[in-house]
């Protein structure tokens, strides 16, 4: 790299304007040259190469959201309700995620700005800080739960908590060491694909395929309408659509250098990520469904307890895979969520924020990223903290914080001044309004279930 780790340099003059080229620009340009070369040729091989070069943010965000609390939510769903309503419901939540995340791809490709930066610039710091506080709080709580999942998952193998946390932090730091977005993305993608380990685990339980088919066709059996069901509904929604995903995918789209020409591939990337994440989520529900069949109470189960409970059914090897899947979910999410916090911090403070930055130029970016992760990890090691409440509620908090975040996204993606002709078409607005309505209604129902639980009994629940 000829610019190396030097500070930004004035390299030449274009017209009357002095063009300043940075290390980040050069790295991104190299990535774009490869994309241009692949695009210049026709044929299956070049098409596949183009797809390979352009996928990343969508798969990462979707598999990243299959994180510790999400996988626990799916495991609890299977153990509590078995095969039924929640299988098609989880597919529906991923469809909602596609609708939402596609908007961030368009926004990032059209404006080349991160989500936090756009909110601050277009709506001003007053609304900008509100959304940043939502993001920072949600991200930090979620990060804590990722380390809880890692600790519990590795605990299954007898790894002491401090070592489990240290292993996770070393992996997170190792992924950053390349100081290159492309390398970071490929390392994290490779780790994220391990999320699919839940599929063989599900197959080991010999799922009742007839019941699975019946559930997808009829959405039956329906669970009773009560507080527990509502908590699982919210947890499953929060397992697929959360504010950090908006910030992460838009910033990653910008950092990767995608342009409006790449939007189609950004969409494919998002759908592909959602398909993989859906497969892993459904597999987790199927994997723990035998616990429902055996009437095992799985309330307040953590990752290790699920693995232990499954061991008599799928053996030590299957239970180990389940525990490793939980560890992977926590590690990948801790990488993507801390990166999302660092991107947002850089965008708001106008400090350099890119995974293409050398350490010297990106001190603030890398410091925020590692400090967020380290602080969350340290909290998990404090003995006696009631961490179980954080795990149970983090997805609920994500659902509650989603409608305000979505309205900002909705307004930005319909803002013709910044989007030009890429504003959302009416059908996309109808779909995204539907998502806002579903999320807000779920939140309101949750609030009613807490404040006035008797109303549920009146409506026929328990």
């Amino acid at each position: 790299m000829s610019v190396g780790s030097q500070p930004p340099q004035t390299n030449g003059i274009a017209g009357d304007e002095v063009v300043v080229i940075t290390h980040e620009d050069v790295d991104r340009a190299h990535d774009r040259v490869r994309v241009s070369e692949a695009r210049a040729h026709r044929g299956f091989f070049h098409g596949a190469r183009l797809l390979w070069l352009l996928v990343g943010p969508g798969i990462l965000v979707m598999l990243g959201e299959n994180d510790g609390p999400s996988m626990l939510a799916y495991a609890a769903t299977g153990a509590k309700f078995g095969i039924g309503f929640f299988l098609p419901f989880v597919v529906l939540t991923f469809v909602m995620a596609i609708v939402v995340q596609e908007m961030t791809v368009r926004l990032g490709a059209a404006t080349h700005r991160g989500h936090a930066e756009l909110i601050f610039d277009r709506f001003g710091p007053f609304w900008g800080w509100f959304s940043m506080i939502d993001l920072a709080l949600g991200n930090f709580l979620t990060l804590i739960t990722e380390f809880i999942a890692i600790r519990a998952g590795l605990g299954f193998f007898g790894v002491p908590p401090w070592m489990a946390i240290l292993i996770a932090l070393v992996i997170l730091y190792a992924a950053l060491m390349s100081h290159r977005y492309w390398t970071w993305e490929r390392i994290t993608l490779a780790a994220a694909l391990f999320n699919l380990v839940f599929i063989p685990v599900a197959l080991m339980t010999h799922p009742h395929w007839h019941a699975v088919r019946h559930a997808f066709i009829t959405w039956q059996p329906m669970p009773g309408f009560n507080k527990d069901t509502l908590l699982i509904v919210l947890a499953d929604i929060g397992a697929t659509v959360t504010p950090w995903m908006l910030f992460f995918q838009q910033s990653a789209t910008v950092d990767k250098g995608l342009t409006t020409k790449d939007i189609r591939f950004g969409r494919i990337d998002t759908v592909l990520g959602a398909a993989l994440a859906t497969a892993a989520a459904l597999a987790t529900i199927l994997a723990t469904a035998p616990l429902f069949a055996h009437q095992m109470g799985a309330d307040n189960f953590q990752a290790a307890e699920f693995a232990q409970a499954l061991q008599p059914i799928i053996g030590r090897f299957g239970a180990s895979l389940f525990a490793l899947g939980m560890v992977e979910a926590g590690i990948v999410a801790s990488i993507t969520i801390s990166t999302s916090s660092a991107y947002a911090f850089g965008e708001v403070t106008h400090k350099p924020h890119s995974l293409n930055l050398p350490m010297g130029q990106g001190k603030a970016f890398y410091s925020v990223l590692t400090l967020c992760a380290a602080a969350a990890a340290a909290i998990v090691l404090i003995p006696g903290l009631p961490l179980v409440y954080v795990v149970l509620l983090v997805n609920v908090v994500a659902v509650l914080a989603m409608p305000p975040a979505l309205v900002f996204l909705f307004m930005l993606v319909n803002d013709r001044e910044i989007m030009g002709d890429l504003v959302s078409p009416p059908w996309a607005n109808v779909l995204s309004s539907g998502v806002v309505f579903i999320l807000t209604s779920a939140g309101v129902l949750f609030g009613i279930s807490i404040i006035a639980p008797n109303i549920f009994a009146l409506l026929g629940g328990k």
Binding site: V20, A29, V33, H112, S354, Y389, F446
Partner: protein, 69 residues
């Protein structure tokens, strides 16, 4: 050595200018996008959702408190 470095810098500059869109350059991102003036209904929606979120967070805190006790 200095000449080689200059040639490399020139090559980088050409590479960047030929493969990135102008507003993808780090330098270009230092310019702020102009503020949008929010209309009454937009402000009403934003405030409603803000109040909704604060209220629901209070509900969550209440639930954690009751569960802990």
């Amino acid at each position: 050595m200095a000449r080689e470095e200059t040639q490399n810098l020139e090559a980088d500059r050409n590479l960047v200018l030929s493969s990135l869109e102008h507003d993808q350059l780090v330098r270009a991102k230092k310019h702020h996008i102009p503020r949008r003036i929010l209309k009454g209904p937009e402000l009403a929606v934003l405030w409603t959702l803000r109040v909704y979120l604060l209220f629901m967070m209070a509900v969550v805190v209440y639930q954690v408190w009751t569960a802990a006790h």
